[in-house]
Subunit: 151 residues, 2 copies
Amino acid sequence: MAVIQPQTLAAGVANEDLVANDHFKTENGIRFAGVHLLLDMWGAAHLDNPEGLGQAMEAAVKAADATLLHIHLHHFSPYGGVSGVAVLAESHISVHTWPEHAFAAFDIFMCGEAEPQRAAAALQEMLRPSRIELTEQRRGVLPPISSVECP
Amino acid sequence: MAVIQPQTLAAGVANEDLVANDHFKTENGIRFAGVHLLLDMWGAAHLDNPEGLGQAMEAAVKAADATLLHIHLHHFSPYGGVSGVAVLAESHISVHTWPEHAFAAFDIFMCGEAEPQRAAAALQEMLRPSRIELTEQRRGVLPPISSVECP
C-alpha cells in the first residue's frame, strides 16, 4: 500500500496559513485553482469597436458574479482590431479581434465562486457571433490528498 | 469533386482590404490568428511579489520579440497572490498566483512574428519553478483556401 503525499507547501507557508488563505476550489473531489475557457468567435459584432467590446466584457463580469478591478482596451487603428483585458478579483477576461477575418479570441479565467460559463454566455448574447468554438481547461490541479493503491 | 470555400468575409470588408490588413499567420499551410500557451508553474519565485513578476513578464515580452503596450499588476494583500496582465501589440501575457499553494498560472497569447515559446522559456528562467505544465492551442484556425475531394 502506498500513500501519495499532497502537494508540497511553499517554503515558509505554515499549515494554518494554508487553511486560512486557501483560495483553491474543490469540484467532484478535485482541487484546483480555476477554470480557463478559450472562446473563439466568428462573425460577432463590435470587432472594431472598443466601447462595444468593453460593454460586453463588463456584462460578462457581472453575469459571472465576478468583481472588476481594472479594464484596458487598445484600438489598433480607426477600423482595425482591438485588444482588451479586464483584471478581476477572480482572474481575468481578455479579447483580441481581427475584423478582417470577422474573428475574436476571448479567454475567460476565473477562480473562486465566479461562473466563467455564464460570462461566455453573456459575451455570446451581447456580440451575436455566427459560430463559436469553446475549450475548457482546469488550471493548477492538485494531486489528491491521499491515494491508496489497491492490492 | 467538391471545392470548399474559404472563410466568409465580414460584411463590408473588401478583398483588397483583407490582403492589405491580413494579420493572420500561416504555418505548414494552416492559417490562424495566433498561438495560445497555458503555463502552470509550481514552486516558482516571486509569487507574492508584483515587482518580480512584472520584471519577469517584461523579460518574456522582450525574449518573444513582442511589443509591450500596457502592464497592470494587482497585489491582493501584502503577502497574498498577484494578478497581472501585459497587453501587447501581439496580444497578451497574464499571470495569477496562489502563494499558499506555490502556484502560478500564466497564459501567453501571441500573433504575428512574436515567439510565445521564447516568452515561456524566459519566464521559466526568471522564476525558476520546480515543475511546469504547458499546453498549446492555435486560435482562430481558418478552413483551407481550397479543399478537393479525391475520387
